[in-house]
């Protein structure tokens, strides 16, 4: 396994771990972090996978795409965190509505 393809595998792994977190975690901040993990994994793979072919200078297009993607991810994260604050103020807990009613029925660890 060459080095770039190792990075691509790690990128895929981060994406999957993030997807698991986005689905299974309940705390909104954890979900938002999980989505960011998915983004990091995707960016890593985006850079690493075309690099397996490169013999000459590195391909600038994926690096430009990742820079654009980072700005988009920063914007989305900022809004998501602000919205999560408002959800917590509204519902008393930083959870999605269905998860909040589940939590009301039994003990929870807010995860």
């Amino acid at each position: 396994m060459t080095a770039p393809s190792l990075y691509a595998f790690v990128g895929a792994l981060l994406f999957l771990v993030g997807l698991y977190g986005a689905l299974a975690r309940r705390h909104l901040v954890r979900k938002i972090l999980a989505v960011n993990l998915m983004a990091s994994g995707t960016f890593l793979l985006l850079i690493a996978l075309p690099a397996t072919a490169a013999a000459g200078p590195p391909d600038p297009a994926p690096r430009a795409m990742v820079l654009t993607g980072i700005v988009v991810a920063v914007s989305a994260t900022a809004f998501a965190l602000a919205l999560a604050r408002r959800v917590r103020a509204e519902q008393g807990r930083p959870l999605l509505p269905g998860d909040a009613s589940e939590a009301a029925q039994g003990p929870t660890d807010d995860r």
Binding site: F15, L46, L83, L96
Partner: protein, 496 residues
């Protein structure tokens, strides 16, 4: 390419004009914002109409922003599919803008969200620009950026309502971000396999491989999640039902169409060879389940806006029901049918949500049980619901009928009986839930009621959209001619 090169530049109008208006509206005093919105949206409508008038003679337009040849720059595509949707979008947003101006600026004692009004307009214009940018996108990565613009603006508009809309918006935001990431991961794999992001350059460079299959699966799954195809629809009803009236209309009529159209375009123009019949049947089957499940849920809803939102779950199903018909004999008619159905649903659904917003605004109660007397208090609004309902059911002489008829005849000719059966059953379910609303609305009220006096823009803009949905069922040759321009070769060659 186009004969008159200056006309080609108008392609950026539907994106750029609302975008500039959004930036100006963000900085402008609140009083000027609705006027900036009107200017931006009407400018978008005008430029799209100019381009559409030019298209039949010139053929599909491939516009390279920045002027760099393929595969270096970013491609915008004006063909029948994109321009039909851009025209539909700008027309609906224009009507909803006049509605929103009246809806958001009530008399001081009226129920509403006055303090939300100044924040509404920049987000509204961003949604308009983003919708057009998604429809015109001819580049895999550019489509990702436009989808994020659309998703953030949509959630921003939902959250304006406060209260339960915050939780619904949060769920929508997480769903749309996960969907975007799945899409972008698919794009990364496609880029690694083809070395290109340019839509026309993907198909020739893409060979079947595990990498290509995973890429197609990720791209499709991300887009389906954002389109709310059953069983990925869970986020849609609370989000669409809790937003402000004009916001619900644009979300339900147009925003779910953006990712649908991108799916349709990618499946037929970026990786047509990987869109295997089994995968098409899977999407069709999910569409069938959506039609039935959404219809049954709509029947059970107590609130009018929740009913209309579940109706969107069902109507999204119809669009995917066309996928098995979009290859082989009759594919050209199925292509026309599905695009027609998309625009028919856009007009009918926006009219319904605007009408539901009027009822909620006047009565403060949008439960179906509270509807008796509505026909006397709000005759125009109830008539609007009736017209839009007829188009949703697919009865003649409406645009909904044209779309469903084209799909139904294709399904019968191709002997796909289960598709024909679902098309008919879905129509019956739609009739059942729409008549449930109309029957209640036509009942006399328990107490004496009189006709309400409303800002005219509220009732008439909803009515205009419902009327447009009917008119497009009568004047079909121009829209059908437009839809055919630049239809993907796989579909066009199969034409009889």
């Amino acid at each position: 390419m186009t004969a008159d090169p200056t006309v080609a530049h108008w392609i950026v109008g539907p994106i750029l004009l609302p975008l500039l208006a959004a930036a100006l509206a963000f900085a402008a005093p609140p009083r000027a914002r609705p006027w900036l919105a009107a200017a931006g949206v009407l400018g978008a409508l005008l430029t799209a109409a100019l381009l559409a008038a030019h298209l039949p003679a010139a053929g599909p337009l491939h516009y390279r922003v920045g002027g760099w040849p393929s595969p270096l720059g970013v491609l915008l595509v004006a063909d029948g599919l994109s321009l039909t949707l851009v025209l539909t979008t700008t027309a609906i947003v224009a009507a909803a803008t006049s509605y929103a101006a009246a809806y958001l600026h009530p008399a001081p004692d009226a129920p509403g969200h006055p303090s939300a009004a100044p924040h509404f307009w920049p987000l509204w214009l961003f949604v308009c620009a983003a919708l057009n940018a998604v429809f015109l996108a001819g580049d895999l990565f550019n489509a990702y950026v436009t989808l994020e613009l659309l998703g953030l603006a949509s959630v921003g508009l939902i959250a304006l309502s406060g209260g339960p809309a915050l939780g619904a918006g949060m769920r929508y935001l997480l769903v749309t971000l996960v969907g975007s990431m799945a899409y972008l991961m698919g794009v990364a794999l496609l880029y690694a396999a083809t070395g290109s992001l340019d839509l026309p350059a993907i198909a020739p460079a893409l060979a079947a491989s595990p990498q290509a299959s995973l890429a197609v699966a990720l791209v499709t799954a991300g887009l389906l999640l954002k389109t709310a195809l059953f069983p990925l629809h869970f986020w849609l009803p609370p989000a669409h039902a809790s937003a402000l009236g004009p916001v619900s209309a644009v979300l339900s009529a147009l925003v779910v169409k953006a990712t649908f159209v991108l799916t349709l375009r990618l499946w037929h123009q970026a990786f047509p060879d990987l869109a295997l019949p089994a995968a098409r049947d899977l999407l069709g089957a999910l569409g069938a389940l959506a039609v039935l499940w959404g219809g049954l849920q709509a029947l059970r809803q107590q609130r009018l806006k929740a009913l209309v939102a579940y109706s969107t779950v069902a109507q999204v199903g119809y669009l995917f029901l066309a996928f098995p018909l979009l290859h082989g004999p009759g594919a050209a008619d199925a292509w026309r049918g599905v695009v027609y159905l998309a625009l028919a649903h856009a007009f009918a659904k926006s009219a319904l949500f605007l009408a539901a917003g009027v009822i909620l605004r006047v009565t403060g109660d949008d439960t179906v049980a509270a509807l008796p007397g509505a026909a006397k208090r709000l005759p125009l609004t109830v008539f609007t619901i009736g017209l839009a309902g007829v188009s949703l059911m697919g009865l003649p002489p409406t645009s909904g009928f044209i779309g469903k008829w084209l799909l139904l005849t294709t399904a019968i000719a191709a002997e796909r009986w289960w598709i024909a059966a679902v098309l008919v059953a879905g129509g019956l379910l739609t009739a059942a839930y729409m008549f449930r609303v109309l029957a209640k609305a036509l009942l006399p009220a328990a107490a004496a009621v009189t006709r309400e006096r409303l800002p005219p823009a509220l009732g008439w803009s909803a009515f205009a959209l419902a009327l447009a949905g009917v008119a497009l069922g009568l004047a079909t040759s121009a829209p059908l001619g437009l839809i055919d321009i630049g239809a993907p070769p796989a579909v066009a060659e199969a034409a009889p």
